[in-house]
């Protein structure tokens, strides 16, 4: 089933990736923007990865975000709550030539589906995970999610939520994800760039996308999406560039002697003291430290945290199959049945 011949990929337009279904999100929902950016970059992704549209599959769980596959004119599977990574596992291992995407929400991925996410990442299954984080349960109408802030008042926590929020990217790094990034629904350029890089990555790629739910959690990401404040509140990560931010690029994030992060004015330190961002670090210590930076004490890092080459799960599986075939030439079925504790009854 493996496609070995070079494919003749048609030249796609954005429209080729829009299905005939009308999106059913609330007017103003951040999901629209994400859909639009994704459709916009798909032609380039198809071309660069030489993946025809029919080899693209979007698998989702349940949630507003998980309706996503219906709007993509590719193969799509709207599965059950939290389990999209498990379907992706079965699909991708049996069909490594496909480009499998998982679309999920903060509840879907981190509450009911947290374990599958963790195991998907540690396996380095070749799958691109788009986690729409709106810090709320949209579809079930406004309960707190695992990324809701401590003290968040929602329908199910009228006096405030009592659990500390999970940090999706810290969990992803601890799970050894090989590609880790963050984007924002309202920043189309960043979104396009990050999604494209995720698509080009071979292995588990997770992109946390801050997504505004204007019905149940409006403005949750205003600090990073409002034009006037966003440059001061975000730290754009770029490989090989220093960790500098601010509208005037006048602030930097550095680590002190105890390796604790702090913000300093660039004017106060010498250029050589700046931390240079490196997405290819094997050891995840520093990248993890970056993922821990929290607004308002720190700017919110966005962009690509990590992009590391490593064999994928399905590669390892199929290498084993091939190696086994080489070492032990394929047993014919008859031979297999005839083995074991046998004896012959003569005529």
């Amino acid at each position: 089933m493996n496609q070995t011949e070079p494919l003749n990929i048609p030249t796609y337009q954005k429209e080729d990736f829009a299905s005939d279904q009308t999106p059913r999100w609330c007017p103003g929902c951040g999901d629209y923007s994400i859909l639009a950016q994704l459709q916009r970059v798909m032609p380039a992704i198809a071309e660069q990865t030489q993946t025809p549209r029919e080899n693209m599959v979007f698998i989702s769980g349940i949630g507003c975000s998980s309706r996503f596959p219906y709007y993509m004119n590719t193969y799509g599977f709207h599965s059950i709550h939290g389990r999209a990574p498990t379907l992706a596992l079965g699909l991708q291992v049996s069909r490594p030539e496909l480009m499998t995407w998982v679309v999920t929400g903060d509840g879907d991925a981190l509450s009911i589906g947290g374990n599958h996410l963790m195991h998907c990442l540690r396996r380095n299954l070749n799958v691109k995970i788009l986690l729409f984080n709106n810090r709320i349960y949209g579809l079930t109408k406004g309960q707190y999610s695992p990324t809701s802030e401590l003290g968040k008042r929602t329908k199910s926590s009228p006096l405030g939520s009592v659990a500390r929020p999970l940090n999706p990217l810290s969990i992803a790094l601890a799970s050894q994800a090989t590609f880790v990034a963050r984007a924002v629904d309202r920043d189309p350029k960043l979104l396009q760039d990050v999604i494209t890089q995720a698509a080009l990555h071979k292995g588990s790629a997770i992109v946390e996308i801050y997504q505004n739910c204007n019905i149940f959690n409006d403005g949750a990401f205003a600090h990073v999406s409002e034009r006037k404040s966003r440059d001061d509140n975000t730290l754009k990560l770029q490989h090989g560039e220093p960790l500098v931010f601010g509208r005037q690029r006048d602030k930097a994030v550095v680590l002190n002697e105890q390796l604790q992060p702090r913000v300093v004015a660039t004017s106060e330190i010498s250029e050589s003291d700046l931390l240079i961002h490196d997405t290819s670090r094997d050891n995840s210590g520093l990248t993890y430290a970056l993922s821990q930076l929290q607004y308002p004490e720190f700017p919110v890092p966005v962009g690509i945290f990590r992009a590391l080459k490593a064999p994928t799960y399905e590669e390892r599986v199929h290498q084993q199959v091939n190696e086994a075939k080489r070492q032990k030439p394929a047993t014919a079925l008859q031979q297999l049945l005839d083995s074991g504790e046998t004896w012959r009854v003569a005529e």
Partner: protein
């Protein structure tokens, strides 16, 4: 000493059948001993049936009753169906083994004990105040005592093994005794030992063979037993035979089905007793392209199976009852998306964790109804270890032809038990049809929920196929297009279509066979792993002249289409089950037949005698007039 004790102690009694049980500590190598003796018996031309039984702990405390492991073998010159009720010969390696098993030894049966196992500590651990060898407890048996441990160590002295290692050979010494008792030489078993230790040290191989021969010679020399006996060989049609356990048979059936269907086999699972061996078997077959993998849990295993099926593989998942509970949500998804997945449940004692290493048939209704909504699936159940091969293939065939999840209900008894299997020739196996779309379906407007008019199956169009991009999922689908639909009448129609698709399979499965006359006083209706015991009991009852027949259901949903007629032809119906009446529930509801139950929930298979007794009982009741 055995079943036909014409002249008990004369040399070379000829028997048609013998039942032997080995029992000892989990560390005593009981399972290996039993397996080798079974293979030997089969190779000698006997029909065989085996029953391994071991504790839930990896290694339960040595010397305790909880730590006793046992292996029973029935070998015979006739076609047999069960490992037998009560052994004729019991081999007990320590007091705990005596304590645990003596009550099942047939009165007048032979007991072989390892005298070295009977120190004070061991007696205490087994809960004996007095030594049972001396207080009259064993008076009704022929007891043969041998200092097995000492003599084993003695026998391998030449090899200068560490005493502990030497003692490990004591199971082979015992096997030597038993070989002599049944008048067979040790060559075959020596050959098995060679194979088994082929990768390991030569010394070990040698030691085991020496102990084996020493045991044989001891029996021969000391006249430990007053006589030998020989079980006649069975008439078997010529060909290659294989001793096959249910789990191995299942694994082979899946591999065969994948090859016949030309699909990649993806076995997605999470380890659980007693199903894990299917995984272990399949994991060995990477060189045949089989992908068998362990996921993080059963939910993931089921999800991965759905994903693999979606991708066009023959997707299978295996587990036991608690795992099925976890899979149930995703099974519902497979029903809604109409994807072919085989779900194997090797049933064990429940509820909850229950009795993980014991057998039971109490997950039938879970297979039928253990999901939200109207969620029909196919349910099959093999009726013997070797039948697992056939029914595993059948499960795959139906799943792929009808685009549906199929349950295969095996159980601990047949999964671990074994019987001889005449190895089929691959070119004679049935051909497979899977539900690939006909060409026209991929053209113009593709309808992922269009249906094959005969099977009602939707097309199995997989990602990677150009021009048929489409979306599926767990929300109700619009007939034809597969779009999400909340339309009330469409929902009703889809619920009915899913129901009809499964019901229609009745046309595609064999009718139910009745053993015995096709009408009469009593029908014993069973399902799955109780097949052997029921058949054996009915044969005995018929031999006694009773008007009884039996039929074993291997198709539980849908039922074979002649089931109504079969039930109708009998005055009474008895349904023996290792549960509290689950098939009975289904039969009563569907056919309004006042079926009676014989229900045993002890983690143990039926004894033939239990079923026979019930049959006799029912046949003695005054029969009601029948039109």
């Amino acid at each position: 000493m055995l079943q036909e004790p014409k002249d008990k102690h004369s040399p070379n009694t000829h028997l048609s059948q013998a039942i032997i049980r080995f029992a000892g500590d989990s560390g005593d190598g009981i399972q290996a001993t039993g397996a080798m003796f079974s293979h030997n018996s089969a190779a000698l031309g006997h029909d065989i049936s085996t029953l391994p039984d071991y504790p839930a702990e990896i290694r339960a405390p040595a010397g305790t009753i909880a730590g006793v492991s046992s292996f029973q073998l029935n070998f015979s010159s006739r076609r047999i169906h069960t490992p037998g009720d009560r052994p004729d010969v019991l081999v007990a390696m320590n007091p705990a083994a005596v304590k645990a098993h003596i009550s099942s030894l047939r009165p007048g049966g032979t007991l072989i004990v390892n005298d070295d196992g009977f120190d004070e500590q061991a007696l205490k651990l087994a809960g004996y105040d007095k030594d049972p060898r001396e207080d009259g407890t064993l008076d009704s048996y022929h007891v043969h005592r041998a200092p097995v441990s000492t003599m084993t160590v003695e026998s391998v002295k030449a090899l200068q093994l560490a005493p502990q290692q030497a003692a490990l050979c004591k199971n082979m010494y015992t096997l030597g005794l038993v070989c002599w008792l049944f008048d067979r030489d040790t060559d075959f078993i020596e050959a098995l030992v060679e194979q088994r230790f082929a990768q390991e040290s030569e010394v070990l191989r040698e030691a085991n063979c020496m102990a084996l021969r020493a045991g044989y010679n001891f029996a021969e020399t000391t006249e430990m037993f007053s006589s030998q006996c020989r079980v006649e060989t069975a008439e078997q049609s010529p060909g290659l035979y294989r001793r096959l356990s249910g789990n191995t048979a299942t694994a082979l059936g899946l591999v065969a089905a994948a090859q016949l269907a030309q699909r990649q086999l993806m076995y997605c699972t999470y380890p659980i007793t007693p199903a894990s061996d299917i995984l272990h078997e399949l994991a060995k077959l990477r060189h045949m392209g089989v992908i068998a993998g362990q996921t993080e849990d059963e939910i993931a295993a089921m999800g991965a199976a759905v994903g693999a099926a979606y991708g066009g593989s023959l997707a299978v998942t295996g587990t036991s009852g608690p795992g099925v509970a976890l899979k149930s949500e995703a099974i519902g998804l497979a029903v809604m998306t109409e994807l072919p997945v085989v779900i194997i449940n090797v049933q064990r004692g429940g509820p909850s964790t229950g009795l993980p290493t014991k057998t039971e048939q109490s997950d039938l209704l879970q297979a039928m109804y253990g999901r939200n909504g109207e969620c029909p699936v196919v349910v099959l159940a093999p009726d013997s270890p070797a039948d697992c091969f056939t029914m595993a293939m059948e499960a795959c065939r139906l799943a792929m032809k009808y685009m549906t999840p199929v349950f295969l209900l095996s159980d601990g008894y047949i999964a671990n038990g074994s019987e001889p299997w005449q190895v089929p020739r691959v070119d004679q196996l049935p051909q497979f049809r899977t539900n690939e779309p006909v060409c026209s379906e991929t053209q113009s407007q593709f309808l992922p929920y269009s249906r094959n008019p005969e099977t009602l199956a939707r097309p199995w169009v997989v990602p990677g196929t150009p021009g048929t991009e489409h979306r599926i999922g767990g929300l109700e689908k619009q007939d034809g297009t597969g779009h999400v639909s909340q339309d009330p009448l469409n929902h009703e129609q889809m619920v009915q279509l899913r129901e009809q698709k499964i019901a229609g399979i009745a046309e595609d499965i064999p009718e139910l066979d009745v053993f015995g006359s096709s009408a009469g006083r009593l029908l014993v209706l069973g399902w799955g792993g109780t097949g052997g015991a029921i058949r054996a009991a009915v044969e005995e009852a018929q031999a006694k002249g009773l008007d009884v027949a039996c039929a074993q259901l291997r198709y539980l949903n849908p039922f074979p289409k002649n089931l109504a007629a079969v039930l109708d032809a009998f005055d009474q119906v008895l349904i023996p089950e290792l549960n509290r009446g689950q098939l009975r529930q289904l039969v009563r509801a569907q056919y309004l037949v006042d079926a009676q139950g014989l229900n045993k929930v002890q983690g143990q298979p039926f004894h033939t005698s239990e079923i026979l007794e019930k049959i006799e009982n029912l046949c003695q009741q005054p029969s009601e007039a029948v039109a």
